[in-house]
């Protein structure tokens, strides 16, 4: 930890001197987050997973793919390298602006938004490709036999499954479903929960009562049984547009619509207490309208529980999606998902073919673990009552 940066100036004793630059809320946040070693590692790990999932077609080649056939290694290496440069550069810019001032937070959020959008756009492609079959490179093997259930070895680091598909390629592609569910559910939950919670908390009476009764209704639904029924009938529903029927998108929208209740309650409680604070009263006395009070005064103060709760919900959503895929009601089999692969791996594991189960389950658990650690770190970092002391 040689490069602690100027943000460590904030631990200067204010009686001794004046720190060189103003310390913002974001500086405090970043300093605290960096101190939480596990959360930092988890954050980097999630970036890695997101990057790999986003660029999955570049890392894995399909047999008979013209793109792969015409010099796959050079092409994907160049593109991948370019992407790495762009990602690292953008990340560094975001990091610097993170540390300098509050305006940097906007840049950072924009960066995250761009990455998410890129990810969404790049995932869009595989909806139209229901039959991705990532066969191992050497199909069939040197002795002319099919490469079915091959143990992990040099060129096939994670082995092949029952149908001779490369497990590594499928693990990489499988991350897309989980991350798509995570991002969409996180966005939907943050949006719905914040809107419903803040309206209910700011406008007492009829609005509050009706919104909270609706929230109670959503919270009262048994999550998994409903999710299973929806997952089962989703591909057959006549009233839905096509892109929601296949892949993880329908599941993600469903889970987003079912999981926002808890956040809405939390946001409402925050609004109820903040609404009565003196600074809100002062703003009202100065003639601020409701919109300004909500967006400029109350919401920024209620942002911490929203971020933390959303992070934790993302973990829950990924687990539920995997469980649905495991049971066969989530993303349908030809499309690789970690839950579906665990199901396939569990079928062949009793015979001693452990790899498909272990690698898909490992990817799933490590991702959820990283998200939960991030939630933990964010909770600590966003808590302004916590004191920072030099270690």
């Amino acid at each position: 930890m040689t490069d602690r940066g100027p943000s460590d100036e904030l631990v200067l004793d204010s009686a001794e001197g004046i720190s060189a630059e103003p310390i913002t809320q974001w500086d405090l946040f970043v300093t605290r987050l960096r101190r939480h070693r596990l959360a930092t590692i988890a954050f980097l790990y999630m970036l890695f997973i997101a990057y790999v999932a986003m660029m999955a077609p570049l890392f894995t080649c399909e047999k008979n793919d013209t793109f792969c056939g015409s010099g796959p290694i050079e092409m994907s290496a160049i593109t991948t390298g370019l992407m790495v440069v762009i990602a690292v550069g953008a990340g560094y810019l975001a990091y610097r602006s993170f540390r300098s001032n509050l305006r940097g937070a906007g840049v950072a959020i924009a960066f995250v938004a761009i990455v998410s959008a890129l990810f969404l756009v790049s995932s869009w492609g595989w909806i139209d490709l229901p039959h991705i079959n990532h066969y191992a490179d050497q199909l069939p093997g040197d002795d002319g036999r099919l490469l079915i259930r091959i143990e992990p070895r040099g060129s096939i680091p994670m082995g092949t499954d029952d149908l001779g598909r490369d497990v590594l390629a499928r693990v990489i592609h499988g991350g897309r479903a989980s991350l798509a569910v995570g991002i969409v559910v996180g966005g939907l939950v943050a949006l719905l929960g914040t809107v419903v919670g803040s309206l209910a908390g700011y406008y007492p009476g009829v609005v509050d009562q009706s919104l909270m009764r609706f929230t109670d209704l959503i919270l009262g639904l048994p999550l998994l049984p409903v999710a299973i029924v929806v997952g089962r009938v989703l591909p057959e529903l006549r009233i839905l547009p096509g892109f929601l029927k296949q892949g993880a998108w329908g599941i993600a929208v469903l889970l987003g619509a079912l999981l926002w209740g808890g956040l809405a309650r939390i946001v409402r409680a925050e609004f109820l207490s903040l609404r009565e604070k003196e600074f809100v009263e002062a703003a009202r006395a100065a003639g601020a309208n409701d919109r300004r009070i909500i967006f400029r005064h109350i919401l920024p103060n209620a942002i911490s529980p929203i971020i933390v709760q959303t992070t934790l919900i993302v973990g829950t959503a990924i687990i539920i999606e995997a469980a649905l895929s495991f049971l066969g009601f989530g993303v349908r089999p030809p499309i690789p998902t970690w839950g579906g692969m665990a199901s396939g791996g569990a079928a062949i594991a009793p015979r001693g073919d452990w790899w498909e189960l272990v690698f898909s389950a490992g990817a799933l658990i490590s991702t959820v673990l990283a998200i939960n650690f991030m939630g933990d770190g964010l909770r600590d970092a966003l808590d302004p009552t916590q004191t920072i002391e030099r270690k």
């Binding site: 009764r213 109670d216 209704l217 009262g220 639904l221 048994p222 999550l223 998994l224 049984p225 409903v226 299973i228 029924v229 929806v230 089962r232 009938v233 057959e236 529903l237 006549r238 009233i239 973990g315 687990i319 995997a322 469980a323 495991f326 049971l327 066969g328 009601f329 839950g339 665990a342 199901s343 569990a346 594991a349 009793p350 452990w354 189960l357 389950a361 799933l364 658990i365 959820v368 673990l369 998200i371 939960n372």
Partner: protein, 408 residues
């Protein structure tokens, strides 16, 4: 308080109503009618006309919904030959014991209105009497003694939905109670011990392990248990210790019979061998949650002023922990447990389908695969009712145990 419970019950019924409507619409809009799927099943040819009449399958979906709703809440007449006396004549000794306990429990309830008894055995009996009443009530509903509702006939040819569900529910109760017991009797002492030995190696290990378990999907826990404790252990020892499928072995009835209709020791062993793995896999996540929660709550209590007082006046450490700290630290756990049972139901659905346990969850998965909508609707509503009841019980217990909470 009474008004609060009534209000919560009304909300609960509205929730269940919405739930049934949503699920019904989903099934109806999913392409084709239930009748199309039914025609594929040759066994069902003879009953198609009957079912069409019963469910109004040729009518628009909203009319079908109201027909379903009307049927769902309509009691069926108990057939004459299944009258009370005939059923009592066929009872085994176990049922008579249960009925005696049931009558005793009711007797207790009446007696407690007039007499206030503070003895410890009496309190224990009160807790047991609630459980006994619940069990006997379940058994009476299951065997259609009191009443039964017209929940229809399964489209898969499983017979009346009422019988299927209550048969499966008994199996799920067995699994659920075992899992709950495991989670409570391991998770809570673990949390207490971690709190007492804060920052020790054991504490750190426990915290890490419970964090990892908490982030692990239940199906991975179940599958891993099967692999390691069943297949791998059998390979090493050469003896089958845990079974991975079913509730009992196929030769269960040939094992030595027990006394008075109760299972014998070898039969009990067989049951435990089958029960262990699914119960552990349901319990694991709850166990992690309980121990983390219990640790936090215990630490909070142990830093409170009254505990310092207890220490200062020289009470033995054991008394401080068991009598002063633990009692208060258990209060939040009660709420957590009743809320967690809803999660356990979800976990049971997945676990039952992994371990081939013939409970409600597996029934549900099978019914969903076949889009057998009378069964789906009944199971969803049964599970939904369980979740709603547990939420209400959690809120009530919260108020009962913490006098600062008020209902308005």
């Amino acid at each position: 308080m009474f008004a609060y419970i009534i209000r919560r019950l009304v909300y609960g019924i509205v929730t269940l109503f919405a739930l049934s409507l949503v699920v019904f619409m989903l099934i109806q809009f999913s392409g084709g009618t239930p009748l199309d799927r039914l025609k594929l099943n040759p066994r069902m040819q003879s009953v198609i006309a009957q079912l069409t009449e019963l469910w109004g399958l040729d009518k628009p979906w909203y009319e079908q919904y109201f027909i379903w709703l009307k049927n769902f809440v309509t009691p069926v007449d108990v057939p004459d030959q299944a009258g009370l006396m005939v059923i009592f004549g066929k009872l085994g000794i176990r049922s008579w014991v249960a009925i005696a306990a049931f009558l005793g429990a009711i007797g207790y309830a009446i007696a407690s209105l007039f007499v206030k008894i503070e003895a410890n055995w009496w309190r224990t009996y009160r807790a047991f009497s609630i459980i006994i009443v619940a069990f006997v009530a379940f058994w009476m509903i299951k065997s259609r003694i009191v009443f039964s509702l017209n929940w229809g006939i399964s489209f898969r040819g499983d017979g009346p939905v009422w019988d299927t569900i209550f048969g499966a529910a008994g199996n799920t109760f067995r699994l659920g109670l075992a899992a709950l017991g495991l989670a409570l009797f391991i998770g809570i002492p673990l949390g207490v011990y971690q709190a007492i030995k804060q920052y020790s190696f054991f504490d750190q290990l426990g915290t890490t392990l419970s964090f990892i378990t908490f982030s692990t999907p239940i199906f991975i826990i179940g599958v891993m248990l099967q692999l390691v404790l069943a297949y791998q252990l059998e390979r090493w020892l050469g003896v089958k210790i845990f079974y991975v499928v079913g509730m009992t072995s196929s030769g269960y009835d040939q094992l030595q019979r027990g006394f008075l209709g109760l299972p014998s020791l070898s039969q009990l062993g067989d049951v435990v061998q089958h029960l262990a793995l699914p119960a552990i896999s349901i319990a694991a996540i709850s166990m992690a949650g309980y121990s983390r929660f219990q640790r936090a709550s215990m630490l909070e209590v142990m830093h409170s002023d009254y505990l310092r007082t207890a220490k200062a006046k020289g009470l033995p450490r054991r008394t401080i922990i068991v009598k002063h700290a633990l009692r208060n630290a258990m209060i939040p756990i009660v709420t957590l447990v009743s809320l967690d049972i809803a999660n356990m139901i979800g976990g049971a659905i997945i676990t039952e389908s992994i371990f081939g346990w013939p409970g409600v969850g597996r029934l549900y998965i099978g019914a969903i695969e076949a889009v057998d909508y009378p069964t789906i609707m009944a199971v969803v509503l049964a599970i939904g009712a369980g979740v709603v009841m547990m939420n209400i019980i959690a809120d009530i217990l919260y108020g009962v145990l913490d006098p600062r909470v008020r209902y308005d």
